[in-house]
Symmetry: C2
Subunit: 405 residues, 2 copies
């Protein structure tokens, strides 16, 4: 039996089919038996979907407390104007009525087609019908994980645990996001749940830092959805002594474990590229600052030239170096090492700025594999970053050029 | 007979085959009979090719005066270390010796494969052999235009003229850059020549502003080469009264004409996409500032999702709006107009933030054509920008995934 979000004390959920999508589950209901502390991050896009606007407002009103998350898939409720805003409110209000909680205790999210009338009736009826089905059975957790998908080819679930004074702390999460972004469905969603007892400000600090090292370090094509959202709910039901300090060793362990979960979910998203043939890990070390390290990893992993080279199994270090060079970060090019490899092997392409002779057959063998690690080493300082990306394939172009109309 | 850079008084040139490339011309020599004032812009990449380093140094030493430009294609002389630096110097020194001018009067550029030993001997011998062939015959101008190409499918030349008090001012230019960027050959080069008599500071001002509106508004894949360079030489042989003020009507006409030439060359680069099936013009109006307008145009024209939609003839305004929204520019989404069209027809996709019903057959007819105009209108201010791009095709991926090794 798999362990998932339903292993977190007090978390019950369900995933249902309401008819917004023709066949697959399209409504997820996630509920905590007691109000939980929340931390959340939202899309930086200026165009923001209606559910995101409402959820932000609710969290402000509730001082970052919530008890339910409702997610529909199939319709993004973005660029839908007044009709969409009313639909979002109806969605939250229905859940609040059914659960008998205040509406500002309800977070909502949507994912699917942009700019089409929001199917308020189907979603509202679906909530009414399915709230009573919520369960802490692990199957119900998987139903929820499936109900938030759009073009994903598999559901993305994760679970980690650790111990505080003999007491198990559970952390579970689900996510969606297809490695290859499809028409109007670019949304990345992630919902984590934990029963740890922790101060909201510390929860917020841990979550936001972990998002920086996980979801903010994956790239598929550089586009940002109008509906992106990631959140964590901590309901305190583990009943550990409340964590109130960032130097508390339990806080440090919590953050490590949360990072493990979120990186796991982020990698699952990258590996779900229908159009992608490779999973690529980018490791940069020796940067002056962490921000420098991140910036270089992001630019290189998002470079079309690097990505097509990986698709073509071409050890084209010139493209990697050129992408590093346009990242805006200053470094001494004559001190750069570059290598291509995987878990077992590593081939140096460049050492201290000098191109190396390498065994082309070994490199070709490495590049044939579906997981590749590109290491970049500077000699500027001691900061590092890791990121993940895909190759750019002819299939990506085909998927993304299909008619929406 | 075509008119080109050889129509500029005192400009002589040649394009030769030295053997660095197997078949095509690979060495361009351009010469002004008298020292010319220069303005130039160079790659912003941190990794800078040896010829660019040397040319920057020469221009500083000569106070932005030069008499010759030597360009080789086939080898980029980038990431070539000491050997490359020496090769670049030999290239410039040989030209200086042959022309009997100071070495700092020589500008050089290279384009081709990165990280391979620079073929100093072939290039130096080629210069010695071909300097005597320079000519003001228009055919010699075309030879030079051809000699700077790498994967381009045609040579890019342009010429404009205007009149100052009955005296013709000639402006000619050549450029290279393939619409689809190929392995290690992403370089964009442009060399303009004019016989106008103008103060160097004003030449510099006009040239840099015009570059912003032409070469800096085209995008293929967002990557920046280590070898990019654009320059103008003004040798004053038109003998007009020296232009010394930006409010001089002749300055204004000069800048307009120079802009016409540079936009022409920039559009030629975009239309030379072997992998591209469409030429797309992006027009944004109603922005608060010119910088805002440019930023939005650049982000939208560089979006993989917008570009694949264009390839797929998909009127996906949601992707355009989402790209605008992540540009970092603040605007009221409820006041945006979007349209798709061409010279004859225009279909509104969104008006004041509201998606429009449109004739899908008309839109499909428009999107079938090879030239498309996307108009974006904000209601924030009076600034506008125009940019040009291509679609993202399966051929792009194929071309760029080919082995270099």
């Amino acid at each position: 039996m798999i362990r998932n979000i339903t292993n977190v004390r007090g978390i019950k959920c369900w995933g249902a089919h309401t008819g917004v999508k023709s066949m697959r589950r399209d409504l997820a209901i996630m509920y905590s038996e007691v109000p939980a502390k929340v931390s959340a991050v939202f899309t930086q896009n200026l165009v923001i979907a209606e559910p995101i606007k409402l959820t932000k407002k609710h969290l402000q009103e509730s001082n970052y407390m919530a008890q339910a998350i409702i997610v529909n898939s199939g319709n993004a409720n973005a660029v839908t104007g007044q009709q969409g805003a009313e639909g979002a409110l109806a969605m939250a209000q229905t859940a609040a009525d059914e659960f008998k909680i205040d509406v500002n205790q309800v977070m909502i999210a949507s994912t699917g087609i942009i700019g089409q009338k929001f199917p308020t009736e189907e979603v509202v009826d679906g909530i009414k019908e399915n709230v009573k089905k919520i369960s802490e059975n692990s199957r119900a957790g998987s139903f929820a994980a499936n109900a938030i998908l759009t073009t994903d080819t598999f559901a993305k679930e994760g679970y980690v645990e650790f111990d505080i004074d003999g007491n198990t702390i559970n952390i579970g999460g689900i996510a969606k996001g297809s490695g290859m972004i499809h028409p109007n469905m670019a949304t990345m969603l992630a919902f984590a749940f934990t029963d740890i007892n922790i101060d909201q400000k510390l929860l917020d600090k841990a979550f936001k830092e972990v998002v920086e090292d996980s979801f903010n370090m994956i790239t598929v094509d550089g586009d940002t959805s109008t509906n992106d959202m990631a959140s964590i709910m901590a309901n305190g039901l583990a009943d550990n002594e409340m964590i109130t300090s960032a130097s508390d060793p339990h806080y440090i362990t919590f953050k490590e474990k949360l990072n493990e979960l979120m990186v796991h979910l982020a990698k699952l998203i990258i590996s779900d590229g229908e159009g992608a043939s490779k999973f690529i890990e980018y490791r940069l070390s020796g940067a002056k600052t962490r921000e420098d390290a991140r910036k270089i990893v992001r630019v290189v992993s998002d470079s079309s030239l690097v990505k097509t080279a990986m698709f073509g199994r071409d050890p084209n270090w010139g493209r990697i170096l050129a992408a590093m060079g346009r990242s805006g970060v200053s470094f001494d090019v004559d001190k750069v090492d570059l290598s291509l490899g995987n878990e077992k092997e590593e081939v140096m392409m460049m050492v201290q700025g000098k191109p190396q002779e390498f065994d082309i057959n070994l490199v070709k063998r490495i590049l044939k594999q579906s997981e590749i690690t590109i290491k970049m080493k500077l000699r500027e300082g001691r900061s590092s970053a890791i990121g993940w990306g895909t190759d750019l394939t002819t299939d990506y172009v085909m998927f993304n050029s299909m008619y929406t109309t």
